[in-house]
């Protein structure tokens, strides 16, 4: 887009030649593209893991501790672990476990947290005090200790892990939703809905929730990134998914023993975790930037 500048304000040097034009061009969002591509690739692999020509992640495919690229066979391209299992296959099946657990935890946490936050932000008063107390209590417990306690009391399983991670996300979502609900509840359209006789429940779910949900959704990638890290720490402590199933955390934990002779056993899953968390955080940030502009006009 070009803009003609008024002659009087045109710089002296530019007055002789052709009129100066100004181009307004947004920077191309390469970061966003790369991050989306990585996340899509990961999700695609995790979903299609059964159809892909991959070895069974729980069974050996060759000699133990083969370094990556020693053979270009798809099963051995990223090497093998201590038991001779394919690292590539385990990373991809691990992605499936990880994404499933974190997505479920995030979804449960979001639903529970949003309901609590909506209650606190819309009803206020006693509800706000009760919910805030609950959130503060959950936040006061160190997350790792909480997760260890849950994994110790309950049998370690995928569901136990999901439950523990859900507890971690509830306070974050509840706080986000509470803040958003508080600010949306002040808008005149909410007062208008009251004046035409809408019930509190109807206002909460039809007027406030759809608006405040936007704020909450933009934090989902960031929350999932945090959960992947939490799953990694738990797996590392031996409290994650029980063997022989693969998850990134358990892969890192299993590879620890042979870190000196076969570092790829730790480095490959660690790199995947790093890239995924980075991609999700980038995605979350960019999505927030975009939606913020839109919510200001709409």
């Amino acid at each position: 887009m070009s803009t003609d500048v008024l002659p009087t304000t045109r710089p002296a040097g530019a007055s002789a030649g052709k009129p100066r034009t100004y181009t307004l061009r947004a920077r191309r969002p390469y970061g966003l593209w790369i991050a989306s591509a990585w996340v899509l690739l990961l999700v695609g692999c995790a979903v299609a893991a059964d159809v892909l020509p991959l070895a069974d992640p729980a069974k050996p495919v060759g000699r133990a501790r083969q370094v990556p690229f020693h053979s270009l066979a798809p099963d051995q391209i990223l090497g093998t672990d201590t038991y001779g299992r394919s690292v590539l296959s385990r990373v991809i099946f691990g992605a499936r476990t990880d994404l499933l657990v974190t997505l479920c935890a995030c979804a449960f946490g979001a639903v529970l947290g949003c309901l609590l936050g909506l209650l606190a932000g819309f009803v206020k008063g006693w509800a706000d005090r009760a919910v805030s107390f609950l959130i503060d209590t959950l936040l006061a417990l160190p997350p790792i200790i909480l997760l260890i306690a849950i994994a110790t009391i309950l049998r370690p399983s995928t569901w136990t892990l999901t439950f523990g991670l859900t507890l971690l996300t509830v306070p974050a979502f509840a706080r986000l939703e509470r803040g958003a609900a508080l600010s949306w509840a002040e808008r005149p359209f909410v007062l208008a809905a009251r004046s035409y006789g809408a019930s509190g429940l109807r206002i909460a779910f039809r007027q406030i929730l759809p608006n405040s949900l936007l704020t909450v959704i933009t934090f989902v990638p960031t929350v999932i990134a945090g959960l992947i890290v939490a799953e990694g720490s738990l797996g590392f402590l031996g409290l994650g998914i029980p063997p022989p199933a693969a998850s990134w955390g358990t892969m890192i934990a299993d590879g620890r023993a042979s870190l000196r002779i076969a570092p790829h056993e730790v480095l490959v899953p660690a790199a995947v975790v790093f890239l995924t968390v980075l991609a999700l955080n980038t995605l979350g940030e960019k999505v927030r930037d975009r939606l913020e502009i839109r919510s200001r006009t709409g």
């Binding site: 005149p188 359209f189 007062l191 208008a192 004046s195 035409y196 006789g197 809408a198 608006n211 709409g298």
Partner: protein
């Protein structure tokens, strides 16, 4: 001014709304003290009448509008609507009466839910009250949009941010009208609009009033806007009523010094006209948390005397349909003999 008293209220069947001695208090942050945003205000609106309510920012105009809707419920006083005491109702019965009183707000865009289509926004009040079948609701919504001057086919499926301020205000008015209310509370409905659009929206309100037999409470800070639309004008200052009267009387012969000050503050495109006295306009609005004793206007009033600090003036009749709450009102032609001057203070 502090006008307490109820002598300006009328009796009879043609009074639609009668709010008496309404008090609204808000808790103050970090203290046990409470702010009286509206303090002992009484007003009434006749059927088919437009009451203009003016005053500067923070004087409690909007608060009284909301108090009539019981949002929030006033701390004291009564609100009588069409023979029913609203302050005594609660729950579903109150919600049923509220739909007879609808409100138009100042900010056109944030009056509408940004995530809903206009069709949904307008149908929601009808859905709440299970009015007719979906097809009937759709027809009613489309008809109402046409009445407020919008093309339904170009409006129904759009969202609020796709409309201008004036169009949003028309949509807000349509949302009120689908319920066929008896009273429309307009809380500065044109203050956020361009002057040319202001006139359109004011004309629309006049048309709707005639078409649906509405009564209007028109809240504004602009006397000029209120003058043309109102049958009666009430002036508020710091949570109290100062003067109530027919616009022609109030505008030509203001009795209250504050009304006089407001009228003289209306800018006129005439350079030969002297500017208002600088002394008159000086001074900030005192805090409603700590109002002056006696008459609340005395700190800025040129006619204030000792009496004004000691005793709160009560609303009294100056003439037909002209009431003032002032110890020393300006002389009006209606009651030349009775007009007291500051020197001869009536006890």
């Amino acid at each position: 001014m502090a006008g307490s008293g109820t002598s300006h209220l009328r009796d009879g069947d043609d009074v639609l709304l009668r709010a008496e001695r309404v008090v609204v208090e808000y808790p103050m942050r970090g203290s046990r003290q409470r702010v009286r945003a509206v303090s002992d205000v009484s007003l009434d609106i006749g059927r088919g009448e437009t009451l203009g309510l003016v005053g500067e920012s923070g004087c409690g105009k909007s608060t009284i509008g909301r108090a009539i809707l019981q949002l929030p419920r006033p701390n004291a006083g009564s609100v009588h609507y069409d023979g029913v005491e609203l302050t005594a109702l609660s729950g579903r019965r109150l919600r049923a009466y509220r739909r007879d009183i609808q409100m138009v707000f100042q900010d056109p865009l944030s009056s509408l839910n940004p995530r809903q289509q206009i069709g949904e926004i307008l149908a929601d009040p009808l859905r709440v009250w299970k009015h007719g079948t979906p097809a009937e609701r759709e027809r009613l919504v489309a008809d109402t949009l046409e009445v407020v001057g919008l093309d339904p086919s170009a409006t129904l499926t759009r969202r609020p941010h796709q409309f201008s301020g004036g169009q949003c205000q028309r949509i807000s008015i349509a949302r009120c009208l689908v319920l066929r209310p008896g009273l429309l509370i307009c809380d500065e409905p044109v203050s956020a609009l361009d002057v040319s659009v202001q006139a359109q929206v004011l004309n629309l309100l006049e048309d709707m009033k005639a078409r649906y037999g509405l009564s209007l409470l028109f809240i504004a800070h602009d006397l000029a806007v209120v003058k043309n639309i109102s049958d009666r004008v009430a002036v508020m200052y710091l949570g109290k009523l100062c003067e109530v009267g027919a616009p022609e009387k109030l505008y030509q012969r203001p009795a209250h010094p504050y009304t006089d000050l407001l009228l003289r503050s209306i800018p006129e495109p005439d350079p030969s006209r002297p500017l208002p006295d600088a002394d008159l306009t000086a001074g900030e609005l005192p805090s409603p948390a700590d109002p002056p004793s006696g008459c609340r206007f005395r700190t800025r009033c040129p006619r204030a005397t000792q009496l004004c600090a000691e005793e709160e003036p009560v609303m009294r009749e100056l003439g037909v349909d002209h009431h003032v709450a002032c110890h020393h009102p300006l002389p009006t032609s209606a009651v030349p003999a009775a007009a007291p001057t500051p020197e001869r203070t009536p006890a």
